[in-house]
């Protein structure tokens, strides 16, 4: 599979470009910029629009909209006098559920929502009304957790990318946000609109200068500073840049273009398009820790929660650095072996992988949870999450070898509990390797060296 983000957007959240662009020249320019961005999306190969909206705050982790066709009438809490927006959206439920599973696999608290009458936030409604008015492209909407930090927000993006890649999707990533978000606190006439202060305007222009140069990761790393300088302390901070940058592999050499920058009731409203093509400049200096799996303080309610499950790195055999040798292939992005062997070996046109499990490379954690605790007591675990993590690890090793999942030709799978797990394992297989079509043999075995439920042995073309 070769899913990817084909375009990234920063767009404003206010309803004016939908409801009354004609009332102010600047609002009309924002509307025109939306139309321009819509055309760019239509001309791309995009088959999915992913919205990260700062106007949908959540408390219980992140929430992902999974109702295939949410319909209602949206009225803005402040700008209700501008009118109503009727919406009927096309949501990619399958992707939403897969993203939710991937979040959980990476340690995030996450859930989908699919309820009649759920109030889709104004930012998401504006985005989809203007960027995808005929619902030609299915969409996904994700909330912003009010407590989430950078690590959590980054992992949210990485789990999203896991699904984009496994499904081979061509996605447009959209951050719905103001730049400076200070509005006038009294009604103003449309013709009186301006950025609330010179300071806000200067910061906005600096952000846009960076984005026009494709320096998304630089903006991401300045998020806390930007928030301190030009953001009113509303429900959520300047988090969308963390998410958007992680959706772009934390790059600083994208190709950026500013389609509009105008005030909307004092706030900084910009329409920005970032293309993945390198602008030819050097890439970033990445100076914040990268993260792959969330192990934060989220599970504070339950004494038996995931956070308190003994780390399986302490319960299994000793880990080894992969053996280096002639034709060996080893990846920093794959879990360490439990013996003296390489991750893979290339012979002729074929690549032979050692057995691959779901353990994560950074902290040895097991997505979906280990099958038993340090005392050997059985634990509940998620076979789908484990299987998905196995496929991800296989993908990383093959990519290291210059190959990909699409070149897999034969797989032998090992399950420690065939009765319990075959169905879930089979389901994930169908979503991932099943689409590639390798031959497969599935065996029930008594145990694996670490507390995991599934392992795969793979042969692929180089």
């Amino acid at each position: 599979m070769s899913g990817e983000v084909v375009k990234s957007l920063v767009i404003p959240a206010h309803p004016h470009p939908v409801l009354c662009p004609e009332k102010n020249e600047g609002w009309q320019r924002v509307r025109d910029a939306f139309d321009n961005a819509r055309k760019q999306i239509e001309e791309s190969e995009a088959d999915l629009i992913i919205i990260y909206s700062t106007l949908w705050p959540s408390v219980i982790g992140h929430q992902i909209q999974a109702d295939p066709n949410p319909e209602w009438v949206m009225v803005d809490a402040d700008f209700h006098d501008l009118g109503s927006i009727h919406y009927s959206l096309r949501i990619d439920s399958e992707f939403a559920n897969a993203w939710n599973d991937a979040n959980i696999s990476r340690g995030l608290e996450s859930r989908t929502v699919a309820y009649d009458g759920f109030p889709i936030d104004v930012g998401s409604v504006v985005a989809l009304k203007l960027l995808n008015p005929d619902n030609r492209i299915p969409a996904v909407i994700c909330s912003t957790n009010v407590y989430s930090n950078r690590a959590e927000t980054t992992i949210l993006a990485k789990s999203c990318m896991d699904v984009i890649k496994s499904q081979g999707r061509k996605a447009v990533a959209v951050s719905v946000m103001s730049l400076s978000n200070r509005m006038f606190t009294e009604d103003i006439k449309p013709e009186e609109d301006r950025i609330h202060s010179l300071k806000d305007d200067e910061w906005n222009r600096k952000i846009l200068e960076f984005l026009s140069e494709g320096r998304l990761e630089d903006v991401s790393q300045l998020s806390r500073t930007i928030h301190d300088q030009i953001r009113v302390k509303k429900v959520v901070a300047f988090k969308p840049m963390w998410w958007l940058s992680a959706m772009n592999d934390n790059r600083n050499d994208l190709t950026g273009s500013i389609l509009a920058y105008e005030p909307i009731h004092g706030a900084g409203a910009a329409v920005v398009v970032l293309d993945p093509e390198s602008n030819g400049t050097g890439d970033k200096e990445y100076d914040e820790d990268d993260v792959e799996y969330y192990g934060g303080d989220r599970n504070v309610l339950e004494s038996g929660s995931k956070a308190n499950i003994p780390n399986p790195e302490n319960t299994g055999p000793e880990l080894h650095d992969p053996v280096e040798g002639k034709n060996t292939v080893n990846s920093q992005k794959a879990p360490k072996p439990v013996g003296a062997y390489p991750h893979a070996r290339r012979e002729g046109d074929l690549i032979y992988l050692s057995g691959v499990g779901p353990r994560q490379p950074v902290d040895n954690s097991i997505p979906g949870g280990p099958i038993k605790d340090v005392n050997g007591n059985p634990l509940d675990y998620d076979i789908r999450a484990q299987t998905r993590a196995v496929v991800d690890n296989i993908s990383r090793i093959l990519e290291e070898a210059g190959s990909s999942l699409e070149n897999v030709i034969d797989v032998t799978s090992f399950l420690v509990d065939m009765d319990r797990d075959f169905s879930g394992y089979n389901e994930v297989w169908a979503e991932t390797l099943g689409k590639v079509g390798p031959t497969r043999t599935t065996l029930a075995i008594r145990a694996l060296p670490t507390p995991i439920a599934v392992e795969m042995k793979v042969i692929a073309k180089a």
């Binding site: 009225v75 608290e109 309820y115 009458g117 759920f118 989220r298």
Partner: protein, 297 residues
């Protein structure tokens, strides 16, 4: 025309868990119960208000958040479904309520006269916020009284707790004067929790009370301090300590409802009645009544 009056003021928190746990016919999800300490507190409040004659409920909810002044619903009949965007699994509530637009407009006009930024909300598609619905339902589940719904102006976000309090003190005074001029008997509700740090995970089922507790000792200490001040009738001290309370307990009083209530009641020195205290997903919630009708003039 006789002067209007406030019969009581209530601190009536709005977590949707309380309606969810009551299983009223208007709410779609079903529960096994839960949060009984608070629901019994609401029972005691309802008992206390039994037989009290009043015309209107006037409520300020932090979940209708406005950044451009204070807004008032100006539609006489509001019917729709409210789905909580944060806890949609718990609260999908079908409502059909009446707004006292005349009183709403009177408070609006009085506040405007006193220099505040205000606006009437006249869009018929507007959905009433879930904070208003939860608090009103728990106080008066019969839904037989019209309400005045006031938004929470997030002035704290733009300025400071001090500025927020100045504005809410003025709104409270304007509310009291408009009520007096209206000739109506009103019940006032500040719809907010006290300390407001949530857990970010949810038990299965959500009503598993073995996992419910305050998020930290510091939050508990703040909640108890505020409750003691209410019980001692030290409203001015509550207002004085509000900046520290909002900051250190991440208190939901930052939305201004509590300050508005104390102001409308004339910053009372009379003791309040604590009907109940409990936590909901870690936040501190108190059900408190200021029985103004019983105070001698």
């Amino acid at each position: 025309m006789a002067k209007g009056e406030i019969v009581a003021g209530c601190l009536a928190p709005h977590p949707p868990h309380l309606v969810y746990a009551e299983n009223p016919e208007q709410n779609e999800p079903a529960s096994e119960g839960g949060w009984e300490q608070l629901r019994w507190g609401y029972e005691r409040l309802r008992k206390s208000l039994e037989g009290v004659d009043y015309d209107v409920i006037v409520i300020l909810s932090p979940h209708w958040q406005t950044y451009i002044g204070t807004h008032f619903i100006g539609i006489e009949k509001c019917s729709s479904k409210s789905v909580d965007p944060v806890f949609p699994n718990l609260f999908r509530f079908n409502y059909d309520l009446e707004i006292d637009v005349e009183l709403a407009k009177a408070i609006h006009d009085k506040a405007e006269e006193n220099g505040m930024a205000v606006k009437m909300m006249n869009n018929p598609d507007f959905r009433v916020d879930y904070g208003t619905l939860v608090s009103c339902h728990m106080v008066r589940p019969e839904w037989d009284k019209p309400i005045v719904s006031i938004s929470s102006n997030r002035s704290l976000s733009y300025y400071s707790v001090e500025v927020m309090q100045e504005m809410m003190l003025e709104l409270g005074r304007s509310t009291a004067k408009a009520i007096e001029d209206s000739g109506k008997r009103c019940l006032l509700i500040a719809s907010n929790s006290l300390s407001h740090r949530h857990f970010v995970t949810e038990t299965n089922p959500p009503e598993d009370m073995s996992k419910e507790h305050i998020t930290s000792h510091a939050m508990h200490l703040w909640d108890m301090r505020m409750i003691e001040l209410m019980k001692e009738g030290k409203s001015q001290q509550i207002i004085d300590e509000m900046p520290e309370f909002c900051e250190q307990a991440i208190a939901e009083t930052d939305g201004g409802a509590f300050t508005w209530l104390l102001s409308a009641l004339g910053v009372p020195k009379e003791p309040a009645i604590l009907h109940g205290y409990g936590t909901i997903i870690g936040t501190g919630n108190a059900i408190v009544e200021w029985p103004v009708r019983n105070w001698s003039a």
